[in-house]
């Protein structure tokens, strides 16, 4: 077989191998090179897979030539290739960006570990996405989670350690729930291959253990994707992690968890069980609305800019799960496209905040917190950073012409399809909360005179601005040209729904 036939496994192996090599050489610069190279190779692989899947349809890769259900299968369909692109693409942008940022935020001697962990985290997230095996999902979930705990703990602020520890406990509970769920399914079907499991579940789908498995999986994954009220690990983890880590996690980790949820709901349990026989949609709808309103409301009152946008992430995840709860093609499309649109906007915001933190920190001191009282008059001193945050913020609000509008448009269409006008109102009103928290930044950065001792703050260097603005441009781009984003998402949604029937 030629190299191209092995793309699904290369997708995981390339970043996975880069991590131990980075550790072996114990050199920050070398590690940066090898892990960044691995991430770019993974991005190239993801592009290749996306093109291949778009043209020839789903790929099923048999690990070691063992045919499923006995061997491990890697399965790439439209949704998989879309999420792979998002994850590897974010890594490809964030890694070059992090070079200048971690110089200040992480001690020199730990740099190689940062890159190694980043590589592992990336490999884990890609592995979760690409694998077609239930237990494999758990294994990769643990790989990525463990790497994430370390990455978060690397933050300079001492609270980073506490945040990482808390996330460790919660993440472990979530992972345990997931493995319990998978265990129940294995018990009932005797297989770990997702496709095979789906077939065999038909026979036993109303038995209690299957329902219990569904409950455990739903709760476990909801915890990983930070569905309100299981989001409590997220704000501190995002706030105190190094900036690059926050940006990467915000755009990928929760999104991959959403992917796992969609995968289990549509490809394993089947649409009819989840959405028609059980009151799950109503439950999820209620939680989504809670997230959209409560989390966005809490975000308004934060004093730390990073924490504000962390809470905004919880709110935005509410929109994603809202789309899922419709159980319709349009709703699913809206969810999937919001994975990308929100991921890109949030990554842009956290990268820009990273540059902002760097600009406020004097060399050799502990990283400054981006608290609002220090941001006064920021637009004068860091115009490109401030303006970028505003644009990406507009996307969070959902202003026409930005990517966020496209997602909300599909969610509103989905609500209209089911004649739920009050939901349309809820989506619009909750956007007003986003206006409020974005406006807090605008007001402080643009309309408050800068303090007098702030002359030392300068615009972030170009090496930080360029990757961040690349993402800002992408939020505008996806607001106008939706052939890739909506096109892929609706193809993926159609494929999922067809398979689920």
């Amino acid at each position: 077989m030629s190299l191209s036939a092995h793309l699904p496994v290369l997708q995981v192996v390339l970043p996975l191998v880069s991590a131990p090599i980075a550790v072996l050489f114990r050199h920050g610069g070398f590690a940066a090179g090898i892990v960044t190279g691995g991430a770019w190779a993974a991005f190239a692989t993801a592009i290749g897979l996306w093109l291949h899947v778009a043209e020839f349809g789903t790929i099923s890769y048999h690990m070691g030539n063992w045919a499923p259900p006995w061997g491990i299968e890697y399965r790439v369909d439209r949704l998989t290739s879309f999420v792979l692109l998002l994850v590897s693409g974010t890594a490809a942008v964030v890694l070059p960006w992090s070079r200048a940022s971690i110089d200040r935020e992480i001690p020199e001697e730990l740099h190689y570990l940062y890159y190694a962990m980043f590589g592992l985290c990336l490999a884990g997230l890609l592995g979760i996405t690409v694998t077609g095996d239930a237990f494999n999902i758990f294994v990769f979930l643990e790989i990525s989670s463990l790497a994430t705990y370390v990455l978060i703990a690397m933050g300079r602020n001492r609270r980073a350690l506490a945040a990482a520890y808390r996330y460790l406990i919660m993440g472990s509970i979530g992972a345990t729930f997931i493995v319990i769920g998978i265990g129940f399914l294995y018990l009932m079907t005797g297989t770990l291959n997702l496709a095979d499991m789906a077939v065999r579940l038909r026979a036993v789908e109303n038995s209690r253990p299957v329902l219990v498995a569904l409950a455990f999986l739903t709760v476990g994954i909801s915890l990983k994707l930070a569905l309100f009220p299981l989001h409590q690990w997220l704000p501190n983890a995002y706030t105190y992690a190094p900036s690059a880590v926050t940006a990467f996690l915000a755009a990928t980790a929760t999104k991959v968890s959403v992917y796992v949820l969609i995968r289990f709901y549509y490809s394993v349990f089947g649409e009819s069980l989840v959405f028609e026989q059980l009151p799950l949609p109503q439950f999820m709808l209620a939680l989504s609305l809670l997230a959209m309103f409560a989390a966005s409301f809490i975000a308004i009152f934060q004093d730390n800019l990073k924490r504000l946008f962390a809470y905004s992430s919880v709110g935005q995840i509410g929109y994603i799960t809202l789309g899922l709860s419709f159980g319709s093609l349009t709703g699913l499309t809206g969810s999937i496209v919001h994975l990308l649109n929100h991921g890109v906007a949030k990554a842009a915001i956290f990268l820009l905040i990273g540059g902002l933190v760097l600009g406020m920190t004097k060399p050799g001191t502990v990283t400054a917190e981006p608290s609002f009282d220090r941001l006064a008059g920021l637009s004068k001193r860091m115009p490109y950073t401030s303006f970028g945050i505003v644009i990406a913020g507009l996307s969070l609000i959902g202003v026409p012409g930005t990517a966020g509008f496209i997602s909300k448009w599909h969610l509103i269409l989905a609500a209209l399809e089911q004649d739920q006008f009050w939901l349309v109102a809820a989506i619009v009103v909750s956007s007003l909360l986003a206006v409020a928290y974005v406006w807090r930044f605008v007001e402080v950065a643009y309309f408050t005179p800068p303090p007098e001792d702030s002359t030392s703050v300068q615009e972030a260097p170009l090496s930080l601005l360029v990757p961040a603005w690349l993402l800002v441009t992408a939020t505008i781009w996806f607001g106008f040209d939706t052939t890739f984003s909506v096109g892929s998402a609706s193809d993926a949604a159609q494929q999922l729904l067809k398979a689920a029937q």
Binding site: R166, M170, L211, L214, A215, Q232, N236, P279, F283, T482
Partner: protein
Amino acid sequence: MISAFALHPALILIAGAFLLPLLKGQMRNMAVLAIPATTLVSVFLLPDGKLWETSWLDYTLAPLAVDQLSRLFAGIFALMALAGGLFALHQQNRLEMPAAYLYAGSAIGVVLAGDLITVFVFWELMAIGSTLIIWSTGTPSAWAASRRYLTVHLAGGVILFAGITGHIIETGNVGFSAMQANSIANWLILIGFLINAGAPPFSAWLPDAYPEASWSGMVFLSAFTTKTAVYVLLRGFPGTEILIWIGIFMIFYGIVYALLENDMRRILAYSIVNQVGFMITGIGIGTEMALNGAAAHAVSHIIYKALLLMTAGAVLVATNRRKCSELGGLFHSMPLTTLCACIGALAISSFPLTSGFISKSMVSQAAIDGHMQTVWLFLTAASAGVFLHAGIKFPWFVFFQKDSGLRPAEPPLSMRFGMVLFAILCVAIGLWPDFLYAMLPYAVVYVPYTAAHVVTQLQLLLFSGLAFFVMLNYLKRTPTITLDADWLWRASGPAAGRTIASALQISLACMRKGFAAANVMLSAAINRQRLPDGFLLRSWPSANMSLWVMVMLLSYLALYYLE
């Protein structure tokens, strides 16, 4: 598909707007002229047809669609941006010129749009650009006016957006072509368009806001918003009968208020409403001749109104006075400006050999051809009125009349160039109308210079001129303020509010007390929660999170069990 060879003229101008703040000195001056000049050239290089097509959501948009009509408007807009830029070279404010180019660029974007969504996007950009122009003046009254202006236009934008959404849902078609005012959605679109045209009852936003702009800002403002509205009405609602009466109302509204007005630039602002009224009447008549007339009149109006406002701007810069009662006798020291103002005044009064004559008469002719005697009568009477308020009143009170003793010098070279350029154009179009006629959307079978036309018009002008000087004493303005419909929302709204407030004062006071107490309690509650340990800011312990996990799991299990 986007064909690589067709540059979008609007985007050239808008990109230029963002480039300008980066430049300084001579480079900036060159860019100010080069950007609209490039735009102008690119407009005339565009071939016909839908040059750009792109899909957005489920719709195929055509952000660049060119035909005879859109090329005419885009061309005159680009020319206007060029002359306005030249005139405003001396403007010290750094915000105004980029704002003006953003504004002009979005106006070109509207006229080159082949679909309603693109129209809407540029429509809103235009509102932002024009608001920035007013805002950049920096005076408190300009700031207040810019907010009122933005409110009206955003409200118009919302109405338009609602209409467009409804139209798309009803017809499934985003294309921008002629519509009938036969459904709620189309009516909303029509209303949205008319608000920008300055139609009643929203005419007052125009004379309220425009005169607050700087001496150069108003030159830009006069050209784009209303004429873009004329364009979209021409394309979207030709032959809609109600437009005839709306137009005639605007004509007389403009004349009456301009005659009462004392501020020279407010006179000209009212006369914009008046002149746009002629165009809208033409659109309402809807024959080929009338539509040609409306388009041609839009072109010549842009030129002579900009010319008049340039001279007014020059006077404003030189004397820093705005009121007719404080001006006069300026011809002694500003002969060139006076000459330009007279040419503009003759053009707006449709004097033969000027641009106004060859365009406005087409609308009247269309009324005759359509056997609309009443309309024709109104139009003819209005022509006399125009001569009174703008043709004689403006130059007479500003440049002649009593000697105010002011002896200001002529404006700087760049401003003189701008004025002379447009003065020459006014006469040139009047002398060689075929050049303009060839660019109109339909073939022109109209000869303006027949003995009958010329004699009729001259008689009309002669008698109204006579009337002006006979009634001069009544027309002399005292330094008063004229009330307009905008009084309704500027004064009567608050007044009514005061009356109601005093009537309900007691009950309100109780409620207010209650609200205040609730408000205090609420904000205290929120502030309590904003302490590090408060509900909003605290970091939750793991036990708490685990509890929630348990609650969730149990509720799921319970739900499934019950099923």
